[in-house]
Symmetry: D2
């Protein structure tokens, strides 16, 4: 069986692992207060063109999301999210467990629009009894979204302006950020994201690290006492340097983008095979996740040799499935899958 | 200005107030451990035909809801609610503040159906990654709903069976329960509700008390240590007897239902006037809340003499508004309103 | 049996009740947005000489405490309290349920000192790993304390200066504030308290109201969005005017202080009887709570005719008990108790 | 500078790291549902002689503690802990952030006794108003404690019996468990601990892993839906196999105990040097942490060449410091330190 079910089936890219091996016997301070974390943070700030940002390293995405949102909001405030947002669906109520409502908004492609955000804002304050309702205060978006779509610079700029006009915090979940930044047609880069968002994270777990997410806090108001809240949520790794070292490996050359481009290319081969078979897609994607809609019998046959994710039923005969690629996906494996897709 | 904007514009029914006056100088134990609370609890158990139930008295509805849900659920469990449910919209995130997600379900009339509940259940457990999602565990319904509709015995029985089959807790918010039980066409009564629900409350604040809600816990699993959690949430009134005394006034004769019937009759006069004017309604209601859809200019004229609630825009020219009656609504005031409605 | 076990055994002072009776049929807006609440708030601001303060009305003390603390603190911050503090002992973990640690400090008389607060502050920031510990941010004191002692102006001024120097919030729980302000030897008044504290409440439940506490927020930083958090915690009373009306009764003449003085006088008679019998006291008190240490057999005999609270064992033969008086305590009843104490 | 300040200054034991390297390119399922996690869990169950236990893997100790306690307790229940307990002091309020009070008990050596636990229990239920106080429900102990002391089998048995008699949950934090089990004089082993505790964890972060703690749940009542709560708290590692693989390395031979014994031996050399210098100790310890009390000038001199932790001032001239050893501590480094200690 070959796995296309997610982008974290293997360990880490060898250059990442190598960093850990070569420093294994060094002694450093714990809790991220070591030279490697400092260097990694500096590299990220440089890449983002934000010398004033704060960078914090986390082990995983749910932790990052719940720590940021808990740190940013007062008790009566909520996070606006597309209904497909990870925090709304797949974190077992992590945000609510910190006391905050997720104010979910319908979305057909996983993205929020500036107009939707403006409407949520106006509907709240337009109600005389708004103090009886959760106050929208933070906007949560993912790029790429949970279903593979990508924000354009125009879209993100409009969202950012809407947030700033209304004193809303814009937070971008970049669990798979590299795949978005390397997607065909993308016009965003790290400096633009750092400019437009109050905080965002650069995901590593799903792009070649053993684990690790680098949170970048751009808005000074979100910086105060942040490490207290990380500690409280169990988000500070004792041997914090493991995170710093891995991010150094990502950014000391172009490894982060190199791996992202590879995964996107592999995904594109799958996409093109599906197009040739005239399969439609749940949502258009130029990133490492593809959601073709396939007849049930094809799905069943493919499932004999490949692991991929069943997503949702579309009609009586067809369902959407997810194929996911990563830095470790081999061309040979993709070619074998593509051949099989085309053969049915 | 005459108020039709809610059912808590006045103080209490004189027979309720009289109870407080006549006992004012008596000395009793605090925190609801007095003879009046015991008597009131017994009267309610008798009315519900549930000698085994536990009855607890609260000052308000939000407190009741948040205490019950916090006591009933483990951290990863959520409350299923119609998207119009009070806990989902108008409690400023009170449920989330206790750590739990409200799993909202669309509803056109404010009610949930057994089928919807079954679907929520199946969709959760049908997903291989269900441990990454909030577990549906409690079903929250209101009767009457926030928009005036009423459950039939058939509907509530189906919901109850669905909940028991799937080990879900059924909790009924009865903030305006009397209005439902006295509504034209209603076929539910207190014993049936006590039989079908795991817990529910009989609302007093909106039916003639100064304040007060009587929670009836039927399911023994929900009883353990309940008063600890009441205390923790600030839900135990020091001079608890004030609650017992008021509920004695409600149930020592038929006052609760007498007041509810009066309010429903007054609301019906308004409804009939709207029907005569061929206004349609946001949702059909036989209870004390009416939601006619009126032209903007009519609304503006009525607003000169009456206080009522703007509900939502329906189209370019018309909006739904809410008229609300209570035990204290005078026939004369309604007749004046009706005449004015008919005059435009 | 005559009750001396607490100060909330009866209903309300007749002048308080009368306010509710005379306004019972008036229509007003709900949720505290009525003219009576506005008037009561104005009267309290006048009494405190703080036209800029915000005043909010609550039903009970636990609710007030948990709402204020939840509104004031970020997740990693805690409330410093004497270990005898109500929030540390008798609120079933209400503060922790909002996510905050109570940082308890030993105290022999129920009071905190400026020196203790300074030490807590320095110990926290003196530790290199202070981000691994709860940050002290709010100081909770009660006046009178839970065991009847009273802060002097000198003491409160020193505490206030320590808090301001260290950017700590000073919050005073005034559940029985009147008894402190009318105690023999007291030199504090409402304007001084309003000047020295960031927020405090004037308790009514334990001084002659059916229920009610008036929170005074002096520090502008604590005002923002406060009503959202009240609603979230279930702390907004639907018929809010009941609170406004009762506080008008307290402050339109000197009723609050009149009742407090009466209770203190009654308590003093009990205290003097104990002194004549050479009983010592758990803690010296000039307020309405007295904690004499009595031989077990005396306690047993008194318990045949009076309800009072067993407090704690002191040695093999003796225990401290609590006698509590109120506005409703009759001289006749006290004289009977005093005679009996002296007879053993 | 040589670090003796903690037991997590280096990476991982080479045999641990090797496991990760050799499996790096394998594809497995995520979230701990892979064969390596299953194997590691089985090995641990075998070692504990508890085929019925559930084993879950976490990245860090704070996460483990907060997840277990949040999963085990209802909202009104608290965790009894020595005041020196990690959850009471060094987790930034992690337990309170999940809503629960830590009920701290004074302890001179970091340990709780069965008698203390019984007293907490009796004091709670002995109070008529116990529903106004946090209910003690879980007992948290650490072995070794935060200050290096170790429970004997007799002590732990007495604690366990007290807990079972009173229906309290016994949870043991084993962040450094290996050091206790290999300490001179220890008579506990994994099967005994599994027999006596309801849940405990075997710490890896501080004993030779990159990171990782293995929670063993023995009491079936604590098992239900545990993974939901792990996910909610951000405690499930995406590439969960990294945890399984590391624990296989610990237990496929005696590596866990081998490393613990080495660290204890190194610590003993430091201890003996201090004894020779007639330094006393804050608390007697046979584990990898030593807390000698040294004159200030000696501390200052040692601080020029070694990193160790300042613990607390003892008198005008002396303070307690902490020296900590690990699997990676080299004999040569210890000999150098010992020589220097003896030279002053």
């Amino acid at each position: 069986m070959i796995r296309f079910n997610c982008d974290y089936s293997e360990g880490a890219h060898p250059r990442v692992l190598d960093k850990l091996i070569r420093t294994n016997f060094e002694q450093t301070a714990g809790y991220g207060e070591d030279p490697y974390c400092r260097l990694a943070a500096q590299m990220i700030k440089d890449r983002c063109n934000r010398p004033d940002a704060d960078v914090h390293f986390f082990v995983g995405g749910t932790q990052t999301n719940l720590t940021v949102i808990s740190a940013a909001l007062r008790p009566h405030q909520g996070a606006v999210s597309a209904h497909t947002g990870h925090i709304n669906v797949h974190e077992s109520g992590a945000i609510e467990a910190t006391g905050h409502k997720v104010l979910s908004v319908p979305s057909h492609d996983g993205k929020l629009t500036a107009g939707q955000i403006q409407r949520v804002y106006e509907e709240h304050y337009g109600d005389l009894n708004h103090q009886h309702m959760v106050q929208p205060k933070l906007v949560y978006i993912s790029n790429p979204t949970e279903i593979g779509s990508v924000y354009s610079k125009t879209e993100l700029t409009a969202i950012s302006e809407t947030c700033r006009k209304n004193d809303l915090i814009l937070y971008l979940d970049g669990a798979r950020l590299g795949y978005a930044l390397c997607a065909e047609g993308n016009d965003l880069d790290l400096p633009a994201i750092a400019e437009l968002c109050d905080a965002f994270y650069i995901g590593g777990t799903k792009i070649g690290l053993l684990f690790g997410e680098a949170l970048v806090i751009c808005n000074p108001k979100l910086k105060e006492d942040f490490r207290y809240i990380m500690k409280q949520k169990g988000s500070i790794l004792a041997k914090g340097r493991l995170l710093g070292l891995q991010f150094i490996a990502l950014f000391e050359d172009d490894l982060y983008f190199e791996m992202s481009r590879h995964a996107n290319r592999m995904a594109r081969l799958i996409k093109e095979a599906c197009i040739r078979k005239r399969y439609s897609f749940l949502v258009p994607s130029n990133t490492n996740q593809q959601f073709p809609i396939m007849p049930g019998e094809v799905i069943n046959k493919l499932a004999l040799n490949y692991v991929f994710e069943y997503w949702q039923q579309v009609d009586d005969k067809s369902s959407a499935v997810r194929f996911c690629t990563s830095w470790a996906t081999e061309l040979k494996a993709v070619q074998q899958l593509v051949a099989e897709i085309e053969s049915y």
